[in-house]
Symmetry: C2
Subunit: 108 residues, 2 copies
DNA sequence: CAGATATTTGGCAATATAGCCAAACAGCCA
DNA sequence: TGGCTGTTTGGCTATATTGCCAAATATCTG
């Protein structure tokens, strides 16, 4: 693996890593329905505001979401809706694993 | 966010987390072309065999790849090729971020 | 069985991540 | 300006991840 190729995989991993957390997945999912301000997300998630704010900045730095300030509030929204394609596949992995577990139990 | 919903996002995050590493992305990419044994991947990646083996077991536990033993070798292959859909979107995030950076520079 | 090859596991040190609290900061309004 | 609301940042501790080495395990072959 040469240097250039390595850099590409590192760049890709940074983006995926940004989504590799339940709270951040939740945020992405929620923003796919509509934009939200920090306070709204904090309420839904049930963590400290500062924690949610940090998760948002991770998603933002990865280039997945954008923000817009309106008065004292900051609204966040999805930048690249294609992210949602991730979910379909993740779901099918979950499903296939679950099915295997079931057949393991049944054939016992 | 209720308990059930939380568990679902945690399950999804576990799968995404398994891919959130450059070496593991490389492995998935490589296995999308053909199955490979540990020694082959180790050679391509240029890390310790034990390191590669651990990465493989992370992918396997997440349900993304499967293995098959043949003699002393263990061959790994993709279990859910739809994972590759991830890459398309990751690429478009990378591209859009890059374009923004360029326009930032140009409008300076 | 002994030796060789391929892979996994245990253990450890370095580094990264998560979440909370407290404090700083920003914009609004009286 | 001073206080209020909403958000971000700094700092800390607890926990998780990474990657190497050494050792264990498995399979094949003479």
């Amino acid at each position: 693996m040469d240097k250039k190729q390595k850099a590409l995989f590192e760049a890709r991993a940074r983006i995926i890593k940004a989504m590799a957390h339940p709270t951040r997945l939740y945020i992405v999912d929620e923003l796919s329905r509509s934009e939200r301000c920090v306070a709204e997300l904090t309420e839904m998630i049930g963590a400290d505001t500062s924690t949610v704010s940090k998760h948002l900045s991770i998603l933002k730095n990865a280039g997945l979401i954008k923000d817009e300030k309106r008065g004292t509030q900051v609204f966040y929204y999805l930048k690249t809706p294609c992210i949602l394609n991730f979910f379909g596949c993740v779901e099918s992995v979950l499903k296939s694993t679950a099915e295997e577990n079931i057949s393991l139990i049944e054939s016992k």
